[in-house]
Every structure is written in C-alpha cells, then in structure tokens.
C-alpha cells in the first residue's frame, strides 16, 4: 500500500498508529459493551507500465508492458477502549502483489493481521504487520517496493517472487516510548521464508531492536528533522545458506526547505549486513542474503498551496555493493510525480532505471539494465465508524497531557 502524496495509510503502515480490534471468533471473555470502533482504509493504485529489461526491479515476466494494479490494498481495523486507559485493536488487510497482474497465481498478500495493545507508556503488538525496519523511513516512489533493493532492509529468507516479503513479516514487539516521541522497539520476527533458508517454516528467525524519534506531527513539515531512527537485526539463516546474518540500519528525514506550502525534504536510509558467507549470486535470494552495504536517498518537493498537498516531485536513488563478491554493484533511480486531482485522488507518473554489474545481473536472468515508465491513478481513502478512540500522537495529546479516549 502506498499513498503517493498524502503519505502513509491510516491503519496498516505503522504499528505506532492506534489501529484497531475486530474478532472473528468469540473472545474467551464474553462481555457487553458499546459498539467497537471500526476503521476502513484503502488504496487503489493502477498504472500502465512500459519498459524493458524486466520492468521495475528486474523481476518482470518478460513483458514489455503491463497494466499494473499491484499494491492496491484494503485494511479493516477495530479498536476498543480498555481498562486503565488501555486501547486494544486488531487490524486485518491485504494487498495485491506483482504476480496478480498476470491474472493467475497468487493474487493477494495478507500484509496486516495483528493485535495491538497500547497505553501511554508502552505498546505491544503481535501478528503480521510492517517489519520494524520498514517503519524507519518511507520513500516517495509510486509503490513502496519500487527500488526495494535499496529502500528496504531486505528479508534474507525471501525467494524474490514477492517484494512484499521485505516490507512485512510476522512480528512480536514491545515498544516503550518516552513522551510519545522516542520509541524503543524490541522485537522477534518470523520473516517470511519463501526461499527455505531459515531454521524452520514458522519459527522465530529474526530478533532485533530499533530506536525511532518522531517529532510533533504538527511540525513534520516545519522541523528540520521530523523523524529518524536506527536498528539492529539478527537473522538466523541456515549454515548451508551462509549462516547467520546481522544488519544495522539508520535512516531519517531532513527538511531542507521547511514549510507548509513549499517543502523540500531529503530522506535517507543506509544499511550494512555482515556475518553471512554467501560468496556468489545465482539467485535473488542470494542477493538479499549476502553481506552488503546499501544506501538510498530521496529528494522530495511537495507543493501544498493552501495547506493541502497539490503536487509532488521526487527523485529517489539507491546504490549497493557486496562485501565478499566483486563486480556485484547495482544502482537505481526513479523520478516520480504525483498531482492531486482532489482529496485523496492523484494522477501519478514515474520513470525508473536500474543497473546491475555483470555478477549481480546473473541473479536477474542476465538483465543488466531495466527501465520502466509508469502512468496511472491512485486513490487513498479511509473512514472511521463508531469512533471512540483518538490518535495516540495527536498534537493535543503531545502538548496538553495524554487522554486515551
């Protein structure tokens, strides 16, 4: 799910967001209460893609064009106020994946199915949701998995068929905050093991912690540094696949030109993995697993003439190299444009290019270069019913004492 101009979705994008709690089975404790708060959020995203070399990410299917509706999503959440100021919630959602574009095979990816409990000081969540590393910074490409090799901390267990595996995982996390501005996330994950290089199909295969600073949301376009974060992750890759891998990463947003109307920001993410002994790249999984260093940068110009986003230009670039494999560099760039046609509805366009050196290209069926031009429409929407729970990090809660309801 990606919102071209307006940012990140209400429910699914961040476990820091008060999401929601519906039940499909009876609760062990049956109770009578007021109607549960229900939230619906979605994103429709369709583009006409024309390109060569496997389209974006080199993972094309041999076509030179396609009608691409990947990353369209729908999420449903429910939330309830609990005892002693707690808020309980559950979010469930799915999105279309690249493979759905061809009309057969897998159509949907369940990207959200998690329960969340939060109160003022801490939050605990459990289930399928955004990988903690994916919460540090979001890049303004049309789809969040565009240039994913550079803009995401990669899942070393993925076979590469589904880019969402880098963004979402099964997570058990405890988040402790200070002043609702600084968040320490301690978590264990079962990252999706489609390549079968982990220690089991369902076991925990990843552990880590991350720190994130989130400034006052009222000042996200005005403060120089509205957010930044860093983290560490240990991944239990099989010895036969090179052994355990560790990754450290850091990223953030720097407002080069703060402002409500004209805003220019720089987003960055750097990462380095080490500890895995993979020394050749013959599959996509090898490219995710092998020790590497990657950086992604993005310049975004947002124009909001009356306080509403109207148009956005973004130039996103990334580069990667491998520690133990020579001539395996790669880089990519995407120039993105979005223009609001009305609230939540955008015209979108993007041109992207990726280059891989010869060894790296081996993992991409020999494709050293790929380029794609995309043009389309995006619609982001959300609605809340039976509202009784407010955003946890509202400006009033941050500046005038926290109220749970």
């Amino acid at each position: 799910m990606k919102m071209a101009i307006t940012g990140i979705g209400i429910l699914a994008a961040s476990a820091l967001t008060a999401a929601a709690g519906a039940q499909t089975q009876q609760s062990p404790v049956k109770d009578v209460g007021i109607q549960t708060q229900i939230e619906i959020a979605g994103s429709g995203l369709s583009t006409l893609d024309i390109g060569r070399g496997g389209l974006f990410g080199g993972r094309g299917l041999g076509s030179r064009s396609q009608i691409n509706f990947a990353d369209s999503s729908l999420s449903l959440g429910a939330a309830q106020r609990l005892y002693r100021g707690g808020i309980g919630s559950f979010t469930f959602g799915g999105l279309t994946i690249d493979e759905s574009n061809v009309g057969h095979g897998k159509q949907f990816f369940m990207h959200q199915a998690f329960a969340d409990f939060q109160e003022l000081r801490y939050e605990a969540y459990l289930g399928r949701t955004n990988s903690p590393a994916a919460q540090i910074v979001a890049f303004p490409t049309i789809r969040e998995d565009d240039l994913v090799d550079f803009t995401s901390v990669l899942d070393p267990f993925s076979d590469g068929a589904n880019a969402e595996e880098h963004r979402y995982s099964n997570v058990a996390a405890l988040v402790i905050n200070r002043g609702l501005r600084q968040f320490l996330n301690v978590h264990a994950q079962h990252q999706i093991d489609s390549a079968g290089v982990g220690e089991g199909d369902t076991g925990l295969n990843s552990f880590g912690l991350s720190y994130q600073y989130e400034g006052n949301p009222a000042l996200k376009t005005i403060e120089r540094v509205p957010s930044f974060g860093a983290g560490f992750e240990h991944r239990a890759v099989k010895q036969s696949a090179g052994g355990a891998s560790d990754v450290i990463y850091a990223g953030g947003i720097l407002n080069l030109q703060p402002g409500l109307v004209n805003k220019l920001d720089l987003r960055f993410l750097g990462q380095a993995t080490f500890g895995n002994d993979t020394a050749a790249l013959s599959s996509l999984n090898d490219t995710y697993r092998a020790d590497q260093q990657a950086i992604a940068l993005s310049l975004r110009k947002l124009y909001s003439p009356f306080g509403h986003p109207a148009s956005q230009w973004a130039l996103t670039a990334g580069a990667k190299r491998y520690s133990k494999i020579s001539d395996a560099n790669s880089c990519g760039v995407a120039l993105s444009y979005a223009k609001s046609l009305g609230q939540g509805f955008d015209f979108i366009s993007q041109v992207g290019y990726e280059h891989r050196s010869e060894v790296m290209a081996n993992a991409f069926e020999g494709r050293r270069d790929s380029a794609v031009f995309q043009i389309g429409l995006a619609f982001n929407f959300g609605s809340t019913f039976n509202q009784s729970v407010g955003p946890r990090r509202s400006p009033t809660n941050l500046l005038h004492q926290y109220i749970p309801n």
């Binding site: 007021i34 006052n216 949301p217 009222a218 000042l219 376009t221 005005i222 703060p258 402002g259 409500l260 109307v261 004209n262 009356f306 306080g307 509403h308 009305g342 609230q343 509202q387 009784s388 407010g390 955003p391 509202s394 400006p395 009033t396 809660n397 500046l399 005038h400 004492q401 109220i403 309801n405």
Partner: protein, 417 residues
C-alpha cells in the same frame, strides 16, 4: 451547577478591580448582588402583581449603546484568559477543551444594569478567539464577531471589551470564532445583568436562591479531532512567526478565510470545492453529540438544585449548545417568567420548557411537593452518556427538608455508562 445563593455575594470571576472615574466613592461590596440583603424567599410572602404592560417601543436600549464612560461611572474590570486544558465530563471521560480562566463553563459575570463592564481578554492558547456578549446591546465593535466586527484575537494577544450592561436579564457570553468548535469546547459562560431598579421576578415570586444552568452538548470525537487540528495549526503558525519566508506562505484560504465573496467565488472557480474539500480549519464530518451537559457536567455528576418546602427558587436556563432541549421537572409545575432576559407579559405555568440554542429562559420553581425529583431534557437522547442511559442532561430537585416532611429516599445512583 452555578448555584447563586444571594446571601453570599462572592463573585464568580476574579474581579481585578472596580475603576472609579470621578469622585463618586464605590466599594466592591456594592457591586452585583443588590438582592443579597433580601429576605428569605417564601411563597407565603406577599407578592406584588405581575406587570403586564406592553410597550411597542420596549426593545430600544435603555442607554445609548455607543456612549462612552463618564466621570463617576462604575467600570467593572475582569480579566479573562483563554487556555487549553482538560475537562472531565464524568469520571473517566475527559476532553481537551478551551477554557475561560481554566473553568468550564467560564466564570459567571454578574453586574447591574447601567454598569460599565471592561473585560481584558488574553489569549494564552494557540488558536484565535473573541468574546461575543450574547443578548447585550452594545457598540458593534464590542460584539465579538471575528472578521465581522473585529479581528480575531491571536495567540498571546489581548483585546479589551468595554460596554454598558443592558438590558436586564439572563444572558451569556461565548467565543465567536469557529463557534461550532469553540463554544462546544468550553468557551461559554453566564452573564447576568441585574436590574438597577425593582426586580419584577423578585417582587412577584420572592426568592433568595437562584441557579444558573447552562445546557450544552458535546461531540467528543469532533472536539478531539478539531482541537488537534487547531492546535496543529497554532503550533505551526507560532513556528512560522519566526520565519519570514514561511510567514509569506500563509494565506486566508488555508484557514477558509476570504476577504470578500468575490474572492471566495474566484477560489471555487479555481478548483476549491467546499464543503467537499475542507480548509485547514474545516470540519471533517458532521457533528454527532454523545455527551449532554448541565454546566459542563453530565449526570450523575451534575449538581442538584436545592429547595425547601414553601420556598421559591429562580432557575436561569441558558441554551448554550446547538440543539434544542426540553427541560421537564417531575412532580411540579413551574412558572416561566423571563425569556431572553426580558419578563414575559404574563408568567406561564408549565412543567416542560423548550430551551432553544441561543435562548435563555428564567423559571421559578416553588417548593410544593417535598421529595427527590428528576429535572431533565425530555428529548431522551440527551439523557445518555455516549449512548448509555441514564446520564446526560439531567439533575435532581432536592428538598433539603424532605426528611422533616417524612419523605425518605434511597440514595442510589443508577449508572450504566
């Protein structure tokens, strides 16, 4: 509930000073409660007939509204500070609110007709405010309508209101900036102008105790969302104040403000489509109230109205919200004596009185049936707290001497909210 025991003349607002212009000697003790020396109100006391005279010129102000204070005139000076704080409607249900002097409702202003009132409004919140003196006949420039009769008072700014108190009666004051939010979110208070001469109600229904009940309702979700929007905008503007380049980015349309209709029409032609595209200060959705309050509290946290057998009490009802309410008193009839401050041509006997938004009604309840009686909005949605009954706009008429009359009641409060 603002209980106004007239035997106690403690002002409800921090009255900074009473200015004296000229040589007339004054003391604060002379201000306000002219009736404080009144005898214990009783139905047994002789009452004078109700004056039913009708004067077709009667809506004219007693004093020229645009006159200025003269030497010797009394000027009551009040300081009112607007802040953001937390208000508790019922235990466990709190909301961020705008507050006049940190109270909801704001402090009562009570003066005598013909006195001058000077209010120094200080805005200590990040949002714009004014005060509209609802029911007062005053100079247009003091009427408190933002972008109409005055510029709104910005953060850290002050504005001095000065007007002569008229006409006599029950009135109220409220912020007139984004009234749907600001009045709902706490910026309201009672304004009582006592007669400089005989009090017709007092003469007809001798009383010593009176109560002021401000009736209002609240959509906690709307207030929460919009308060956050306002605070966000205010915090942004405060930061932008320090950056000339960012200040140049501010414009009226961002706030939904236009210099005139032509500018508004031009903006629509340029693609602005209100109300389908909200301004930064716009509402996100229709307002659906879920709490109904008397003086800022919902049942069972409303204060009771106390009475004794044979006593008259005056109750001033103020429609301080955006919905009509139909206040019904169990076990009694009462007299409707004043509407919007003015005495009726003839008191009306009733047991349910409609209180529409922006109106005030004074009633006299007579202690004729000792016990413990409900007094509530008979539009039953308003007797709920977040949909749960009982709650909301409900209080009790309680006889202090009920036990002496052989009446017993169980002190049980039913709560399902």
């Amino acid at each position: 509930m603002a209980k106004n025991d007239l035997s106690e003349s403690a002002p409800k607002i921090a009255r900074r000073q009473v200015l004296q212009l000229g040589g007339m000697g004054l003391s604060a003790g002379l201000i306000g409660r002219a009736l404080a020396q009144g005898t214990q109100g009783s139905m047994d006391e002789p009452a004078t007939p109700w004056p039913a005279a009708f004067d077709p010129r009667g809506t004219a102000p007693t004093f020229p509204p645009r006159e200025r204070p003269k030497p010797g005139d009394k000027i009551h000076v009040y300081d009112i500070d607007v802040t953001i704080g937390i208000h508790e409607i019922v235990p466990g249900v709190q909301a961020h609110m705008f507050l006049f002097n940190k109270t909801y409702p704001g402090p009562e202003i009570r003066v005598k007709e013909g006195d001058w009132v000077q209010v120094n409004l200080k805005n200590s919140s990040p949002e714009f405010h004014t005060i509209h003196w609802h029911g007062i006949m005053l100079p247009m420039e003091m009427d408190g309508v933002p972008l109409g009769t005055q510029w709104p008072v910005g953060p850290d700014q002050e504005f001095r209101y000065l007007w002569k108190a008229q006409p006599t009666g029950t009135h109220f004051y409220h912020c007139h900036v984004m009234t749907t939010l600001h009045q709902q979110a706490g910026l309201i208070g009672s304004l009582i102008v006592e007669p400089s001469g005989p009090d017709l109600v007092q003469q007809a229904f001798p009383y010593t105790r009176e109560y002021t009940l401000i009736l209002s309702e609240l959509d906690t979700n709307f207030v929460r969302d919009m308060m956050s929007e306002m605070v966000e905008m205010g915090v942004q503007m405060e930061r932008m104040n320090h950056s000339p380049s960012m200040m140049r980015e501010m414009n009226g349309r961002m706030m939904g403000w236009f210099k005139n209709k032509d500018e508004f029409v031009k903006a629509v032609k340029d693609g602005y489509i209100p109300p389908y595209l909200a301004a930064r200060t716009g509402t996100a959705r229709p307002i659906t109230p879920n709490y109904f309050m008397i003086n800022g509290k919902s049942y069972p946290m409303t204060d009771p109205v106390m009475i004794r057998r044979g006593e008259n009490i005056r109750v001033r009802l103020i429609g301080g919200g955006f919905m009509p309410h139909f206040m019904h008193l169990h076990g009694h009839d009462f007299w409707h004596v004043c509407q919007d401050g003015s005495p009726l041509a003839s008191p009306v006997r009733m047991n349910t009185i409609p209180i529409f938004p922006g109106t005030t009604s004074d009633i006299v309840i007579q202690g004729t049936n000792p016990g413990f009686w409900h007094f509530h909005d008979h539009s039953d949605l308003a007797t709920t707290n977040n949909g749960q009954h009982p709650g909301g706009m409900m209080t009790m008429l309680m006889y202090e001497d009920a036990r002496e009359a052989g009446i017993k009641w169980e002190e049980v409060i039913a709560i399902s909210s």
